[in-house]
Subunit: 353 residues, 2 copies
DNA sequence: CAACTGCGAAAAATCGATTTACTCATTTCT
DNA sequence: AGAAATGAGTAAATCGATTTTTCGCAGTTG
């Protein structure tokens, strides 16, 4: 079974050619499915390929073309379920079209984002799926524009004048959260978020506020927004509660905020939903096994990934026209962490079911 | 600025050469830092590079060498914190050495694992970091061996006769968990795991059992192991409890098992640690914000990634010698989900704190 | 003064596939 | 029958770098 030479040197198209007694060009044609090859020769080529275990070298194959069969993906991080699922999806979709996905993490840094982009440009990727750290106005998008790269922006973006964008419909989802909380009687709600990521956070905040005020003009909405990091947010939140503020519900605009809110509740000995209600943007597997299960807005990862790749490949294949901004609807899962204010026995044990 | 031509065609080494009035070979030498270039010429080359914004095409650059500056990484999934952090680390380490990391998810399938490996072989990657779905004896490792690939196996492996391995010291960590549970007085413990991933699960189980029996020969250890999937495990666990079994502590050998255990506790209205104690292998961010915080074994992701890459690059650079099996120590975080049996009010509402 | 040493740089080969241009045979058409 | 079209295949150019070989020329040496 030809183990020996496998370890030494891989068969090249020339090895196949000489073995089949034809030229390399003919081998290439057979592989490409060109019909102008004598069936007899084609068969000999196929046999040679089989015997030598020949496989095309994608790197050599891509050398000549301007756009290579590589898609770059840049995510702010890999540690969360959301981006993990996103990369998995994107990889699978790229693969389906015969492309290789090269994913990189910007680790929430715009500087790194641009560096990675430059590296991907060096690789002459056919296209890039960029989930920017902040929004569509960062240096990364500018770099892509300046260098004529093909790309799609996802997640923390609204719309752009150069690239297609795909993201969750944060505003609509937040509006629904607002409607539900108001419906349950909440009139003092705290919204927690990480501020300058702007794009989505603003959409979520506005969507929530507008609908809440519309349905209950007397509602009081407090907002605690931190600049960039989680720890400052924790500190601000602690201060907020230390002042004696006592909202009946908290809406966190992103996953880590939900974690922070939960840990602050714990510190103070508050329980959901009796002492306070909680809804978070972004779902996670653990949220349904804790007690209580945490209500969450579920982002449509598959849809976002699917439409992003669809748009990207359309552009790669030369589609013209103005960029399109796409919003995918979210699902709001109201779990046990949300109740009506003052309905449960305050402080103390929750004896449910 | 030079925006126009950037959009059109990237500068190649020949463009730089002609602009500097030298040959392409000289440009290559300047970039490689070869000293046998007249300073005057070197400067002109540098200027030309600057003016044209020239950057080496990594693909063309790698064409000639047998091993390309690409490292492949294959993980069972991207959705968990553990593998997310792992990929982030590996990427960062590869980058430091001027390599590009191409990560792929086998989605817990051995067939896919081998396919991906074949693709990476086509890419002529310099090396592969493989976190196999089951263990070191799967088809993927065999493929690597048969094709003379360079690689390191991590996570769900113990040791191998062909490749270096790096994983968490599951046995030692499990022994410590055993010691702590026994120390707190537990004498009826349930161990939950996903069976045929073998390598690590077996190590964890054995490590736990050996130490537990050593410290308390009268301890009763039940084991619920499912074959491959999570749902069967849930069913088995449900059956187990339905039979009236009432261990005082549960040790889950992997993250999803912890989730499943928690959700079963919820179904039955049991609370940790009053009704039952829980420790899980693998830590996650949410575990410290739930009430109670879940005790967990923390795997040393950075160490595993670091030593894996160290070993890999040593092999890439030609290091000989028998493969080494490395075990990295874990930390055991005993949080509130672990207590002493019978110390809290059984059944019903947990009015804790 | 011929032969030798070496430096610096250019020319050419190489990596592996694709693609263009071109060569012979056959057919087919007028 | 002679011209044009088609078929089947090959040699060579190309992609963008790296590496090996070769070469010119200046300065030494015998």
């Amino acid at each position: 079974m030809a183990h020996r030479q496998d370890q030494q040197r891989r068969a090249s198209i020339h090895d196949v050619a000489s073995r089949a007694g034809v030229s390399a060009a003919t081998v290439s044609k057979v592989m490409a499915g060109v019909t102008t090859v004598k069936p007899e020769n084609a068969q000999r080529v196929l046999d040679a390929i089989e015997q030598l275990g020949y496989r095309v070298d994608p790197l050599a194959s891509d050398m000549r073309r301007a756009k290579r069969r590589i898609i770059g993906a840049i995510m702010p991080e890999f540690e969360s379920e959301f981006f993990g699922q996103m990369v998995t999806q994107l990889e699978s979709l790229a693969e389906q079209r015969g492309y290789t996905l090269v994913a990189a993490s910007s680790r929430e840094s715009e500087a790194r984002e641009t560096e990675i982009l430059a590296r991907m440009h060096d690789w002459r990727v056919a296209g890039v799926v960029l989930a920017p750290v902040r929004n569509e106005h960062g240096p990364a998008a500018a770099f892509m524009k300046a260098n004529g790269m093909t790309g799609v922006l996802i997640d923390r973006v609204l719309s752009d004048d150069a690239f297609d964008t795909v993201s969750a419909d944060s505003a609509a989802a937040s509006a629904e959260v607002a409607a539900q909380l108001i419906g349950k009687g909440h009139r003092h709600i705290l919204v927690v978020g990480l501020g300058e990521q702007a794009a989505t956070v603003r959409a979520r905040l506005d969507g929530f506020r507008t609908t809440a005020l519309h349905l209950a003009p007397d509602v009081r909405i407090d907002v605690v927004l931190a600049e960039t990091d989680v720890e400052p947010l924790r500190a601000q939140l602690r201060d907020y509660f230390a002042k004696g503020e006592r909202p009946t519900a908290v809406y966190s605009l992103f996953l880590k905020g939900t974690l922070v809110a939960l840990s602050e509740f714990r510190r103070r000995g508050w329980h959901c939903p009796n002492d306070i209600s909680l809804v978070g943007f972004d779902d996670a597997e653990w949220m349904q096994v804790t007690w209580p299960a945490i209500a969450a807005v579920v982002q449509p990862v598959r849809q976002i990934a699917g439409h992003a790749m669809e748009a990207l490949f359309a552009r790669i294949e030369g589609e013209e026209g103005p960029p399109r901004a796409r919003l995918e609807p979210c699902r709001v899962l109201m779990r046990e962490s949300v109740g009506s204010p003052g309905s449960g026995p305050h402080s103390g044990g929750g004896n449910r079911q």
